[in-house]
């Protein structure tokens, strides 16, 4: 692809991402709902943490009550920032609206990803400060070494990229199974458990922790979250590389899936 062709192509997807941001801004109630939900989750689990840690039931080196609340704020920020756009892909496949999208000089999957990345960027920007505000309010302080939170930022962004790619793949599965909710449900629960959404992996039995490390979920949630426990550039770099590898694998898988979708649409008519 020539340079100017590439630039024109990038400009199209940037425009689609921009339109998605404008649409998300127009749907302010949805965004506000996410902020409220984030606050509620942080409040409920902060109570649990205060009881459990305060009672001495568990202990993580370098992590007190405040750090655990900040951990939760980071992991929830990563996960809640990704819109459930697999549902819109599913709806387009069900209704046949996908046909409308295919007559444009733009890749269907590329356009879906551009929309999702646009909306995710906005949510990251809104939910990030909101999560920090809630965590500060509930914990009453910053983590012992707040510099770790700076390292969580790029990790959180890359984590959302991985989640977007995963959700796109879940959405495309609608071409085979129509109802994608069972696949999303499994993906989400695996992310909760193996990713350490609520409980840091340090608290898991060693066999489960070892098992979880074979999946992308610890890099996606535990990796950014544990930056709340201290400033560890080496660990952050390791997590970043791990996330980059998982993103590359997810992108390759998605590309293969998109090719099969094109063939399937050709055969079955979408």
């Amino acid at each position: 692809m020539s340079r100017s062709r590439l630039a024109r192509s990038a400009s199209k997807y940037a425009a689609i991402a921009g339109a998605a941001v404008r649409r998300a801004l127009a749907e302010r109630a949805v965004l506000a709902g996410r902020v409220v939900f984030l606050g509620a989750i942080l409040f409920i689990f902060s109570r649990v943490w205060q009881t459990v840690v305060g009672g001495g039931a568990i202990a993580i080196p370098g992590a007190g009550k405040a750090e655990l609340i900040w951990y939760l704020a980071v992991t929830e920020w990563c996960l809640l920032s990704v819109p459930p756009f697999f549902l819109s892909i599913e709806a387009e496949v069900r209704s046949g609206d996908v046909a409308c999208r295919l007559v444009r000089p733009v890749s269907y999957v590329g356009a879906q990803l551009a929309e999702a990345f646009g909306e995710t960027a906005l949510r990251l920007a809104v939910l990030g400060p909101a999560a920090a505000g809630f965590a500060l309010l509930i914990a009453g302080s910053w983590p012992a070494d707040p510099r770790g939170l700076l390292l969580a930022l790029p990790l959180g962004v890359l984590s959302s990229v991985l989640a977007v790619l995963s959700m796109a793949a879940i959405g495309l599965s609608a071409f085979w199974i129509v109802d994608t909710s069972p696949i999303f449900w499994i993906w989400q629960k695996l992310a909760f458990v193996l990713g350490g959404l609520l409980l840091p992996l340090e608290l898991y039995p060693s066999w489960l922790r070892a098992l979880a490390r074979f999946s992308p979920f610890p890099a996606m949630l535990w990796g950014p979250g544990r930056m709340a426990f201290g400033f560890a550039p080496g660990v952050a770099l390791e997590t970043f590389l791990e996330l980059a590898i998982w993103c590359a694998l997810a992108a390759a898988g998605l590309a293969a899936l998109a090719t099969r979708v094109r063939r399937r649409l050709t055969v079955n008519g979408g």
């Binding site: 199209k12 339109a19 127009a26 749907e27 609206d97 046909a99 444009r104 649409l265």
Partner: protein, 333 residues
């Protein structure tokens, strides 16, 4: 002159999974699903010259939309030759996309939460229009489709007729050489239908754009097109100028009239009263005997009219008449 659209012996077959009945059959179907073939389009051939406005009509499930999807590159044909602007749509879908415009009446290409103007801006980027060229084209279309006062409203707040005008503008921004319209007037009221038909016809003339319009509303083909292709059960039944079809197969019109008087008194040769209700009269007019204008004049002279509409017989009735009166082999006039 090369054809804008050329189809030769197009056949499109879908494989449909058969639903298993009973628990044991459902389990078996998980491992070895049974499929059957559904022939959506069978041996359809036609050619359309550049600038021609052609109606592709037929009852629901006739194969109109499938053919349109094959022509726009969404679906691959099972067999046959397809050329659109000299390109093979299945292979050159991306290149073809720059040269065609599509409107699907039952689906929207506009973003419902945003104003139509935002979608236009986005489409300008997608179709790689130069900013100055886009501004000039948009301004021309906004004025011609009279949407200046609605393009800044979120699309979800627009009426169906307003939305359809915006859909048409969206599909015309990149100056397509061919416009595919799939049921563009479905769900619209009489006035909105007439507006859309006028706009499509005028725009087609002004831009020299080839129009292929699918519909099961005979009013669409009369209002927009000069030639009609009738398809039924996947096979091309008839290919004629509109005028010839009207004379041969639309010999009657239906007039519905609502009057202040409980009963409308009308006694004219060629006018038959259909089952009616108080204040609402349904008439069938035989065009070979009397013109609709004379019937309407008689109604208006004899009663206080609150509402009046003139409709063609339903497409199914026309197809039945074509079956009865014309052999497909001799269909071309």
């Amino acid at each position: 002159m090369p054809h804008a659209i050329e189809l030769a012996h197009l056949r499109k077959v879908f494989r449909v999974r058969e639903r298993a009945r009973g628990f044991a059959a459902s389990l078996r179907a998980l491992i070895a699903p049974r499929e059957r073939e559904v022939v959506a389009v069978d041996d359809v051939s036609f050619a359309i010259a550049p600038g021609e406005r052609v109606a592709f009509v037929g009852p629901n499930g006739a194969g109109k939309s499938t053919t349109l999807k094959v022509l726009s590159g969404i679906l691959q044909p099972t067999a046959g030759l397809v050329r659109v602007l000299g390109l093979d749509p299945g292979r050159d879908r991306a290149r073809l996309a720059f040269r065609i415009g599509t409107v699907f009446g039952q689906r929207s290409q506009l973003w419902s939460h945003l104003p139509a103007a935002d979608t236009f801006d986005l489409l300008a980027r997608i179709y790689e229009l130069e900013p100055a060229e886009y501004r000039q084209r948009r301004s021309e279309l906004v004025s011609s489709f009279a949407i200046a006062d609605i393009i800044e409203k979120p699309v979800r707040q627009l009426s169906l007729g307003e939305r359809m005008r915006c859909e048409l503008v969206a599909s015309l921004l990149h100056r397509p050489e061919i416009l595919f319209l799939d049921e563009p007037t479905i769900g619209l009221d009489v006035v909105a239908k007439a507006t859309i038909r006028d706009l499509v016809r005028e725009r087609g003339r002004r831009d020299g754009c080839t129009v292929l319009l699918t519909s099961h509303d005979t009013g669409d083909m009369e209002g927009v097109c000069e030639r009609v292709l009738v398809i039924h059960q996947g096979r091309l039944l008839l290919d004629r100028p509109i005028e010839a079809l009207r004379k041969s197969f639309i010999p009657r019109k239906r007039v519905s009239v609502v009057t202040e008087e409980a009963e409308l008194r009308i006694d004219l040769p060629g006018v038959r009263r259909l089952p009616s209700a108080a204040h609402r009269t349904e008439l069938e007019v035989d065009l070979a005997v009397i013109g609709v204008d004379r019937v309407v004049a008689a109604i208006v002279a004899g009663a206080r009219v609150l509402d009046l509409s003139v409709e063609d017989p339903p497409m199914e009735e026309i197809v039945t008449a074509i079956y009865a009166g014309a052999a497909p082999a001799a269909a071309r006039a």
